[in-house]
Symmetry: C2
Subunit: 417 residues, 2 copies
Amino acid sequence: MNLFPALEDSALTSMNLLNEVAERHPAAISFAAGRPTEEHFSYADIGRYLDAYRTYLMQDKGYTDAQVNRELMQYGRTAGVINDLVARNLLVDEGITASPSSIVVTVGCQEAMFLVLRALRASSSDVVLAVSPTYVGLTGAARLVDMPVLPVRSGPAGVDLEDFVAQVRRARAAGLRPRALYLVPEFANPSGVSLSLETRQRLLALAESEDVLLLEDNPYGLFQRGFATRPPTLKALDTSARVIYLGSFAKTAVPGARVGYVVADQQAGSGVLALELAKLKSMLTVNTSPIAQAVVGGKLLEHGCSLVSANVREATIYRRNMSLLLNGLASRFPSLSWTVPSGGFFVVVSVDFRADDSMLAYSAEHFGVLWTPMHHFYGGNGGYGQLRLSCSAVTADQIPEGLDRLAGLVSELRRAA
Amino acid sequence: MNLFPALEDSALTSMNLLNEVAERHPAAISFAAGRPTEEHFSYADIGRYLDAYRTYLMQDKGYTDAQVNRELMQYGRTAGVINDLVARNLLVDEGITASPSSIVVTVGCQEAMFLVLRALRASSSDVVLAVSPTYVGLTGAARLVDMPVLPVRSGPAGVDLEDFVAQVRRARAAGLRPRALYLVPEFANPSGVSLSLETRQRLLALAESEDVLLLEDNPYGLFQRGFATRPPTLKALDTSARVIYLGSFAKTAVPGARVGYVVADQQAGSGVLALELAKLKSMLTVNTSPIAQAVVGGKLLEHGCSLVSANVREATIYRRNMSLLLNGLASRFPSLSWTVPSGGFFVVVSVDFRADDSMLAYSAEHFGVLWTPMHHFYGGNGGYGQLRLSCSAVTADQIPEGLDRLAGLVSELRRAA
């Protein structure tokens, strides 16, 4: 059957491939999965969150039983129903002032990325830039709208500002229209790198002078290792609606709710860009399940709309795991190097072998340890000497054991070399 | 801001426009909304459905508490988690034999339509045919993937088979590649027309000989007015994987769960088409909320996977409402004509005035009654003399009152003519 050619593209096949390896080796220790810890999952939470949201509707909004039933069980508003709670969360945790009407609640952050790219792709000359290595979800969403992704070097600062400007100008000279730069400014996936305050400010100024939007994706920002003040997000620093903010609740609330959002307060048509994104959403998923939104809304309400407060236990686990991982690497691999992030889930290790998909399969099969080949984040152009380790979904016991297994692989390959 | 041109297209703006009129006139009686009845919505059902699904996982599948928590609260399988229950439902209610692995659970039927069209649009010469008047959700999804929609006449049979063949051949002669015909064979939205068994069989044979897929959308099939045997779906009659079946739980389970599905058992690549659709979904919404799926799964389990059995009360309401609507039209409008469907939600009335969007606004403002201008289902090419009345979301009391209001509009316009 003749199908959409991008179905053969590595951006779309890589996720399946990695999942298949994991499924074939259920007993393997996985440093591959970027999913959040399950240690505090509790079924009873779901009902309690729903009840908390229902109480809020009745007590704060004066809803009757019939209105509650309608809000949760009927088709709902395309742009979302918990937008006011999301706005409060952004203010409380990030110092971002966002109008609820500039927010569209989406089916995870992935739908938000699709909607933004679909809206920005006005013609075949529109392209999106992305700091490289790039989260595969952005590349995949761009494939779905036939929009090329042009890489911008990361460099030690998290984004190479000279390369950003150079890529914008090169694209324009080639007749292309660079619409936006996608990046994860805090604990990037996969690099783990964070932008300094100065880099953030310079990036905002350059985005303004070069007339390019910034797509800020911030799934890990809450998970600091230290207790230093968190740097402000690009959106909090943004005074000219230059930043479209992509939000995820998958790492900070309940992954199984599949709720994310986008803040798009740019002027577009007769209103804000969020309205245009909602129009697209009405033909993609119609609306985000209000039951799923209520689960997230209830969790927000239980914690005064602060996900920092809601994630005290989880942040402790990630800090512990990151320390175990970094210390474990140091004690086992004196001749390798790796990134030392100040938070988040990911460490990138530079290895002395070709860390491709067949090596991952070999690692799973013979050593029982999973990791993510970095070449997936370079669209197949490089990264073959690196692998990504995630500390989020492993237990404290699994980390030394998993690193021992990885050390077994490294030793065998050195002996064979 | 320079945005995707289809954002100005009537397919994308019509839904918003109709919602805005409804929001401006909350006291108006709405024959516009195609949403299901809320008369039996109950908040307690949500928790009970979740519990039923949890019990099933533990008792039937032997899950531990931790496994239940993971299934419901963690990221989940892209293709879905309730696929076996959906397959049982299709067998019990529709006599369709579908492998769970040929099913992708989606964020409502709308995402299923998008995924199928995105997969089938291999190049700019690919087009989709649709029986006209056409559900706007199909047209909107096609706009998102830049795929033209070619109308096929409905005619008294529900699909004009000669026109179907003629349109396929005309498209091919013009260098286009017609990939599929979209239709709602049972109680079509908006026309209310159903295909006879003979028409179904002839359509399947023609789709085979013309090498075009059929996209069967069946949201209303359960809601018969009479007690005659329901005709088999196209998918139940399909012996050569010619039909892609689009399923919705919005009318039959819980709209607020936003769960739908697609059955795609066609060979594609090294497996079935469903696998390719799941690849696309991994870059669109990643997975359908397993909490939302569990709500639907629990409702299925409570009723032996039969939605016919789950909807006894609702079907009674729709039968009653359809009779009230048809009888009410007959007693008030001796000189107008309308369709008399054998089930479903919709009646199309041919009127003696221009039933466009401004007339709808006038009707809402001065007479307090909402209906859907039919031109939205013709992509702006015709239908200006017709309006669609839905009987699903009104109460028994509202129907005569709403029709009186409509009669007021009709009388005023006649006096003015």
